[in-house]
């Protein structure tokens, strides 16, 4: 045990993990809760989770690295997740994605990422802006919706 494990953050991570000790197969709910709490899952958190759940660090790391949702670095202030799947492509989603990436080039407070399907396939192009679903998107609408992100 390092002094690391006594920081408030580490204590909190430990508490969150312990809350799921009664679950069958608790790892995914634990990781989801850590994401909810901290916005990412750090190396130290992986070690904490492994310790509490009696798993190897490698196993926990393997699960964290498998899923797109789990990030290991703190998130930027804002995220734009745009759908690049077929239904949104059929109504110009690829262009919206490319234009949005270009418009946010060099902004380290905004992350533009791809997702494949948000279940809004009749009202595409679709995207999530800071976790809120929007349909019938184009570059202008995204600009209007993100206008106050400066």
């Amino acid at each position: 045990m390092t002094t690391e494990s006594f920081t408030p953050h580490a204590q909190r991570a430990r508490t969150i993990t312990e809350q799921h000790l009664g679950d069958r197969g608790p790892l995914m709910p634990v990781l989801r809760d850590l994401m909810e709490e901290f916005g990412h899952i750090s190396r130290d958190d992986v070690a904490t989770v492994a310790d509490v759940l009696n798993l190897s660090v490698a196993e926990v790391h393997g699960v964290v690295s498998f899923y797109h949702d789990f990030r290991t670095t703190p998130p930027p202030a804002h995220t734009i997740a745009l759908c690049r799947a077929e239904a949104c492509q059929s109504v110009g989603g690829e262009q919206v994605f490319a234009e949005t990436v270009a418009a946010h080039e060099g902004r380290d407070d905004v992350e533009v990422r791809e997702v494949f399907c948000l279940g809004n396939c009749a009202l595409g192009p679709s995207g999530m802006l800071d976790g809120r679903l929007h349909g019938r998107l184009d570059a202008d609408r995204i600009a209007a919706l993100t206008g106050d992100w400066r």
């Binding site: 197969g25 899923y67 797109h68 949702d69 492509q89 009749a122 595409g124 679709s126």
Partner: protein, 506 residues
């Protein structure tokens, strides 16, 4: 005081339904929130209660919201009588968009719990028999007879058994699972309790994708309500039967919609597929016998038990019985939910219900059954929508998604995208899928750049053969389906030898 209904469905909310609801409250109306009727092109679709029925107004804006109270706006007339709905056969979607999704009394008033009540008076084996008689097949896409699966689980010797609901609806062009859970979550709960009773399970898990936050909230709330009212937990309706349902949220992995990968994820591991046998029905979640069913499969069960398997089996075509919830998506004038008996033609869906493309240009291709489904050209629109009927034209029904493309689509790029998607989402366990997807994408890049087209297409064909025959699961096994259908029906898009070679690394 006028009562109006404004959908709280994620699709409606994505185009401003919440703002419309706020404006209607400000205008003095009593606002109730329903699911969506599935007429997604008309969202936000506001319904005003009148003595003559619920009158619909399409594409209502916050500015125009107050006007609908005085009859101003794009009026659709009585929504129940609208041509889009009147011809449909809504079984699983009977209550979606009609009721307040969280109103358990409203659910019961509209026929809810009738299937469960009847099931609890029968023996588990008789419940399984009823589902077998209905001819219901796996609506996730595999089309395996649900009754046969349940019978296997029921017959398995084990202290613990599970029901696992696959709500990882990742296919592009599909949203029926999401909409039924948001619009009528008690139907899924009822289906799961019946399934648990039938196979002898006392614990159920719903694995829902993280991209569906509205549905997660709706389902959790409904489960809480079901516990409070004695439809979940101990001694359900005095039957002595006990069922618990847990919701587990995925973390962004398309492959977790494959049943064995989903089970791995539920157990807290990387979502890598399992080799079969053993089948999940004998050795599934935590090594125990598990009935794994899709949301739509489970949502068909309450009606089958309430009305009898025969009534369901009377609908359909060939060996595809009952109704299918089709989802019209992409470049389509009228996208949304169309629930009809199996056997409707693809053309009726795309041209009839869908009204052609949103852009008004000619339809060039339709992808049926998600990203692993074939692209179908308009000259095959006479195909009947059924498992075997689609297989005959080398296509598949999948989860019932229908994605429309107009004549501006580049089919070589769509084929390339199929490989790209597989490369991103492959679990990596088997080589044909992990390596094949990447090599396929690279080889099609050469084709698109006009390099050695004929030889590279031969290579793609060979690669597809390897993936089809050598992959562990449908991810690698079916990725060739969209690729090869694109090459087969639109060869002109792959003939790039005359083009300028540009922008693609050798």
């Amino acid at each position: 005081m006028t009562t109006v209904w404004v959908p709280a469905d994620a699709a409606a909310v994505s185009v401003g339904a919440d703002e419309v609801a706020d404006a209607l409250v400000a205008a003095g109306a009593t606002v109730r929130r329903n699911g969506s009727r599935g007429m997604l092109w008309a969202e936000p679709l506001v319904e005003v209660e009148t003595d003559g029925g619920r009158i619909g107004y399409a594409n209502v804006t916050p500015e125009g919201a107050a006007g609908v109270l005085d009859g101003h706006g794009d009026c659709l007339g009585v929504v129940d009588d609208h041509e889009w709905l009147a011809g449909q056969r809504r079984v699983s979607f009977a209550r979606v968009g009609v009721i307040d999704p969280q109103d358990v009394e409203g659910f019961e008033a509209q026929g809810g719990w009738a299937g469960l009540r009847r099931a609890l008076t029968m023996s588990p084996a008789d419940v399984v028999e009823e589902v077998t008689a209905s001819g219901l097949r796996g609506r996730g896409g595999a089309g395996f007879p649900a009754g046969v699966k349940w019978k296997t689980v029921l017959g398995a010797e084990a202290d613990t058994k599970y029901v696992a609901c696959n709500f990882d609806e990742g296919d592009s062009g599909t949203f029926a699972d999401r909409m039924v859970v948001e619009g009528d979550p008690f139907t899924l709960i009822e289906g799961m309790v019946i399934a648990a009773y039938a196979v002898g399970a006392s614990e159920g898990y719903v694995y829902v994708r993280s991209e569906y936050p509205h549905a997660i909230t709706a389902l959790r709330r409904a489960i809480e309500t079901a516990y409070t009212h004695g439809f979940l937990g101990r001694d359900i309706l005095g039957s002595g039967h006990h069922v618990d349902i847990h919701v587990r949220v995925g973390a962004g992995a398309y492959i977790c919609g494959e049943e064995s990968s989903m089970l791995e994820s539920l157990e807290g591991r990387r979502g890598e597929v399992r080799a079969k046998p053993p089948i999940p029905a004998l050795k599934g979640l935590f090594g125990q016998p598990t009935a794994v069913n899709n949301v739509l499969t489970l949502c068909a069960v309450p009606m089958i038990l309430a009305d009898g398997g025969r009534a369901y089996a009377d609908l359909g075509v060939g060996r595809s019985r009952g109704t299918q919830v089709f989802q019209l998506a992409g470049n389509v004038a009228r996208g949304g939910i169309v629930e009809l008996p199996m056997g409707v033609t693809l053309g009726e869906l795309v041209e009839g219900y869908g009204g052609g493309t949103r852009t008004g240009r000619p339809v060039r291709a339709v992808q049926v059954g998600g990203p692993l489904g074939a692209y179908v050209p308009p000259d095959r629109f006479d195909v009947q929508m059924g498992y075997e009927e689609l297989a005959e034209i080398e296509a598949m029904l999948g989860h019932g998604g229908v994605v429309v493309f107009d004549d501006t689509v580049d089919m070589a790029r769509m084929a390339r995208f199929a490989f790209e998607f597989c490369a991103v989402e492959s679990c990596g366990k088997c080589t044909p899928c992990r390596i094949g997807a990447v090599r396929g994408k690279e080889t099609l890049d050469h084709v698109i750049a006009g390099r050695d087209v004929e030889r590279n297409l031969e290579l793609v064909d060979d690669l597809c053969n390897t993936m089809t025959k050598g992959s562990l699961c449908a991810m690698g096994g079916l990725t060739p389906m969209p690729v090869q259908s694109a090459i087969r029906h639109w060869p002109e898009d792959f003939d790039r030898s005359h083009q300028e070679q540009e922008g693609v690394p050798s």
